[in-house]
């Protein structure tokens, strides 16, 4: 019992440390090649594989700068608030059938959606406590965006819950069948798009908008605290990709023996993470008004319609 707990916490923590680095390194190389560059080639020797580790070592040795005008306790706490919810989400994502999940709660989906929603708090804390006009504008943009996109995210997740008749993530994967790819396609699209906005990735990066707001709500951060906030972004990519894979793409389900199911989960998550990276290269940033319009006039109505459709089909079948 105690051993199982330690193994699970250690496994989740290892995933939390390793997967974001993999995504980050993939982003370095994939972006570079999409733009006709080589990307990092030096650190570690082979194609710069150790670049992010070197970055981490560098960040750990940097001076801790807190502006005089900042609200210091809040300023210092914000990186932890940004990072830890995503760590906790990983606990609920099933890697494979049976026991290959950190915790199988009956209300897993509910907790996961709640945890993803904590992000808005971190954005406001960082932006407001920095006492800087750029960070404040960035934080307000971020708060508006995160609150708005919370809705389509939650409604799309509710559609899956209705289709599966349960809120437990492993049970949702059990209930999944390939027909969902068609039937739940609008919800999947809405969920993934809203997820992108929740983690403020391009094209939804108006809150950090480096060409107009310096670096948005992160402007005043430096050194290790900045590194933690950056880590939160990449854990966010892992979490949103994994959730989309588990809820809409069948998680561990796929051809081959069930004992290799974890490989499917990782492959699907990786493929979605690659899409997230690709969007950063291919899409220009949306304006703030476009971001709100896409949510309220596009995603929310689609998600509501999907909910009605899902309920009707679930009753008929």
């Amino acid at each position: 019992m105690l051993l199982e707990l330690i193994v699970k916490v250690a496994a989740v923590f290892a995933a939390f440390l390793v997967l974001p680095l993999l995504v980050g390194q993939t982003e370095h190389k994939l972006m570079a090649h999409m733009q006709g560059r080589l990307g990092p080639m030096h650190a570690g020797g082979f194609h710069g594989w150790a670049q992010l580790i070197a970055d981490g070592v560098k960040f750990a040795q940097k001076e801790d700068l807190v502006p005089d005008a900042a609200d210091k306790p809040v300023f210092k706490l914000a990186p932890a608030v940004a990072l830890l919810p995503y760590l906790l989400v990983i606990l609920f994502i099933p890697l494979g059938p049976g026991d290959l999940v950190g915790a199988n709660l009956d209300m897993g989906l509910f907790i996961v959606v709640a945890l993803v929603g904590v992000g808005v708090l971190a954005v406001l804390m960082a932006g407001w406590s920095s006492a800087n006009k750029y960070t404040l504008i960035g934080a307000l943009r971020g708060a508006a965006q995160l609150m708005a996109y919370e809705l389509p995210l939650v409604l799309a997740a509710a559609s899956v819950a209705v289709a599966a008749g349960t809120l437990s993530l492993p049970a949702i994967v059990e209930a999944w069948n390939p027909w969902w790819l068609l039937w739940q396609a609008p919800a999947a699209l809405v969920f993934f798009t809203a997820g992108l906005a929740e983690i403020r990735r391009p094209p939804f990066d108006a809150p950090v908008a480096d060409s107009e707001l310096v670096f948005g709500y992160l402007t005043e951060y430096a050194g290790l605290r900045f590194a933690l906030l950056l880590l939160a972004e990449y854990v966010g990519i892992v979490v949103i990709s994994a959730l989309t894979a588990v809820l809409f793409l069948g998680g561990w389900r796929g051809p081959g023996p069930e004992s290799l199911g974890w490989l499917w989960t990782l492959l699907k998550t990786g493929a979605l993470a690659a899409v997230v990276i690709w969007l950063r290269v291919a899409w220009p940033r949306l304006r703030v008004d476009q971001i709100q319009a896409l949510c309220w006039k596009g995603l929310v109505p689609i998600a509501l319609a999907q909910l009605v459709l899902t309920t009707a089909v679930a009753l008929a079948v």
Binding site: V9, Q61, D64, L91, V154, T166, L167, V214
Partner: protein, 148 residues
């Protein structure tokens, strides 16, 4: 339906503590490894290279910013005044959000059990969602969703 026991919540708690420990250890390592050379210039609010502090003694950055005027000190003024009118267009979205967030809270438990109650439960939720959708349509029609 399987039920989750206290053990699952225990894992959650232990992981949360592990997370805080991770941040604490990282910051402690940082404290040991980092140099510390504080200065007034470094602690200034970032302002694209222009000195924003009205009462701060002109630092090195400030004298760099005004090299040609020969003035002993830069003009003591913010870039922009302390108070500025900024049009916050977001508050309507906050209202809309609260409406739908309340709906979402009811949706999840309902989704887990509605099969047991059949069509009646589905119709009731349909009415609930319908009223909210009507609200959104009203806001849309009134032009609230237009960015002005």
């Amino acid at each position: 339906m399987e039920t989750s026991g206290p053990a699952d919540y225990l894992t959650f708690g232990v992981l949360l503590l592990t997370g805080f420990a991770f941040v604490a250890v990282a910051m402690t390592a940082n404290r040991i490894l980092r140099p510390s050379a504080p200065s007034a210039d470094k602690a200034q609010t970032y302002e694209c290279g222009v000195d924003p502090a009205p009462d701060a003694p002109p630092g090195r950055l400030a004298s760099l910013a005004y090299p040609r005027t020969g003035a002993a000190s830069p003009p003591r003024d913010h870039v922009g005044k302390d108070w500025a009118q900024v049009q916050i267009r977001y508050y309507v979205y906050a209202f809309l959000f609260v409406l739908f967030a309340v709906e979402a809270v009811f949706l999840f438990p309902w989704a887990a059990v509605f099969r047991a109650f059949g069509t009646a439960a589905a119709v009731e939720m349909g009415v609930f969602v319908g009223v909210l959708a009507l609200g959104l349509a009203y806001a849309w029609r009134k032009g609230v969703l237009r960015w002005r």
